[in-house]
Amino acid sequence: MNALRSSPLLFAACVLALALLPVLWPDPYMLSVVASAGIFIIAAISLNLLLGFTGQLSLGHVAFFGIGAYTSALLSLGFDLELPGLAQALVVTPKPVWVAFGGGIFVAGLFGWLIGKLAFRVRGAYFVIVTISFAQVMRMVAINWVDLTEGPMALNNIPPLTLWLPGAGTIDLVSKSSAYWLVLAVAVVSYLLVAALVHSRVGRAMVALRENETLARSIGVTVTDYLRIAAIGAAAIGGAAGGLYAHTVRIIDPDVFMFMFTITMVIMVIVGGKGTLAGPVVGGLLFGLVPELLRGRLTPEVQWMLYGVLMIVILVFMPRGIVPALTRRRKARPAVVQPVARMAGDTR
């Protein structure tokens, strides 16, 4: 887990290599594939904060992704909404994309706080189910509140990403390369943010409550506060990923809330290594790029069966994921201890 921290040089080298990619290999299709993988990596990094570092199995993470996507899209397209109680429709004019993007992050974070308040009253399997239900409700709302979200007809013609630089004003990022660089930038920022959080006092408290919540509570760790911080952070970063998605794909429909996306993110985090910083990146690259390589060679059904089998195999033989398995040799003491179960029941 500390492998990359102890070599910031390695980290910088990776980032530089990735940044040079569009220059060395300017194929627009390939760039869009890697950018797409990058967006999922950002989402996986955010999920890892909740799943890996605080040990809360949230399976509704796609909700924040979708909320970020819809919010950013709607703000950049502008909308009018008739609300009961208002004499006139509420009209929101289209905002510049970078403003909308920020809005997406904010609203997603807000929902993260809300879910934090509601969901953390329960633990374990109940928590899982609550998070799943939350994502499904968001999906239903997206499908049925057609006035706002266009429902199954999808939000179309979403403007592409823009960047606001002091002095240069607003720049349109239409080409695949510039979109790629923005995704890379956001990914690097998210990674560093999560790393900073994890290595701070807050991070240590989170790990403490992951390992043994009752014990942590007994020594004065205010568990729900830290969980809430984690939830807001995870939601905000997830929302950022969603916003990027909305402005690169430029069309979103309620299927963006599909459970399958949560599963994809979960697979990335678990296979890569939950609770590690590099894990979601490795998992994300693997599951973002391999489908493209296999496209046309294996049907999607067979591909997904392979991923399912891969996931099961990894969970059985390498339950900590790929990254810890690779770095285990470097460390003297064992990586991280298994989380203690919430419910009654123990080893067979």
């Binding site: 007809m153 999808a154 794909v249 430029r250 069309i251 299927d255 046309g296 060679r297």
Partner: protein, 385 residues
């Protein structure tokens, strides 16, 4: 049977897609196809794709076009507008197809349209019926299927022959561009003909339990219910309407035929009517019977389900159109094919195919005007009216 066939399709599709790796690009002319092969409208998408494949085979057997064979590069858009965009981008950027056919539903087609403008590739629209498609000012769109307005207008000519006469109409539509657009177009036609419009209910594209909507429609006093959706939902709607003993006669629009009702019919004596654009039970009533026969024969030779022809012909006609345009253009290049599409005159399974300008001046899309048939389904038997 069906499952073995679907395995075969998967293998053929995979093989074809594997060959799409641009190594042998010089040998064939590629045509991109984006259709829903999985998801809520997979049945129709599969039929259309099969029709397209048949056309490719028939054409290749006759020597192909410009001395080369045509090759379909087929992508599944998973009954989802976002996947439709992804599949179109992949076809354009990676497979470098000069022309596309797709994307079945109006919603998917509308989603793909900005990409056509961005990359400058023409697309022949074979099923989608929303008026927005040809009025959006996109000069790369050429549609051979009728708009809902045309369908409603063709139907209005048959109103006099309906017995009992239609006096009050309810609507049950899938809640996307297609369903809602069809409901709007038909409503207007009915109102123009002095028919009262009653209640409108909608259903989500993947909804299977429609009992709530049908219960709401039960006591409205209307004599007709217009249902617009794909094969799966039409089947469920008609069956459940029969179970709840809805008094309205059911008429479906959009050209889909609920063929599962042939093998498991609704209650005895219960009849439903369907607006189709091709009636495979009486191919001799087609405008060009010999073209229809060539299609029908190829279809039955492959042992596909007969009722599938009601939608399979769309893929067939679309490929015929595209190939003719390529022939006129003399080269497999997007801009040339687009210009050539305006000059196309093809004898299709549905009749004459030619494009007229529609939409804002200077950026018109092409629109064709097809024929409409009414078919009645009762106790598992079909009668073409």
């Amino acid at each position: 049977m069906i499952s073995i066939q679907s395995l075969r399709f998967t293998l053929v599709g995979t093989a074809m897609a594997a060959f799409a790796v641009p190594v042998l690009a010089q040998e064939t002319i590629k045509i991109g196809v984006s259709e829903p092969l999985t998801g809520s409208v997979a049945a129709s998408g599969t039929y259309v794709t099969n029709g397209a494949r048949l056309a490719a085979e028939v054409i290749n057997r006759k020597g192909g076009v410009l001395g080369k064979k045509i090759e379909l590069v087929i992508e599944d858009n998973k009954s989802n507008p976002r996947e439709a965009v992804n599949s179109a981008e992949k076809l354009i950027l990676k497979d470098k197809v000069p022309v596309l056919m797709g994307a079945w539903s109006s919603t998917f087609t509308l989603a793909v349209m900005p990409k056509l403008m961005e990359y400058g590739v023409p697309m022949v629209v074979e099923t989608a019926s929303s008026g927005k498609i040809t009025t959006a000012g996109n000069p790369w769109i050429f549609r051979i299927s009728p708009t809902s307005a045309m369908e409603a207008s063709a139907f209005s000519k048959k109103l006099a022959g309906m017995s009992p006469a239609i006096k009050k109409v309810d609507f049950l539509s899938v809640n996307n561009d297609w369903g809602l657009g069809a409901a709007a177009a038909f409503k207007k036609t009915f109102e123009d003909n002095g028919i009262t419009v009653g209640r409108t209910e909608t259903m989500a594209p993947d909804a299977t339990d429609l009992s709530a909507q049908l219960a709401a429609l039960k006591g409205t006093g209307a004599d007709t219910l217009i249902v617009t959706s794909g094969i799966e939902q039409l089947t469920l709607a008609i069956r459940q309407a029969g179970e709840q003993r809805l008094p309205q006669r059911i008429i479906t629009t959009g050209g889909s035929f609920p063929e599962p009702l042939l093998t498991s019919p609704g209650p005895k004596g219960y009849a439903s009517q369907h607006l189709l654009f091709f009636a495979p039970w009486e191919p001799q009533r087609a405008v060009y019977p010999e073209v229809a026969k060539e299609f029908s024969d190829a279809w039955t030779e492959r042992k596909y389900d007969l009722p599938g022809q009601t939608e399979g012909f769309r893929g067939y006609d679309a490929i015929l159109t595209i190939v003719e345009a390529i022939r006129i253009a003399g080269k497999a290049e997007p801009a040339a094919i687009r210009d050539a599409l305006w000059k196309v005159k093809v004898k299709g399974v549905n009749g004459d195919i030619a494009f007229v300008k529609e939409g804002p001046a200077g950026k018109e899309s092409g629109q064709n005007e097809p024929s409409v048939y009414i078919v009645e389904l009762k106790d598992g038997k079909v009668a073409v009216k």
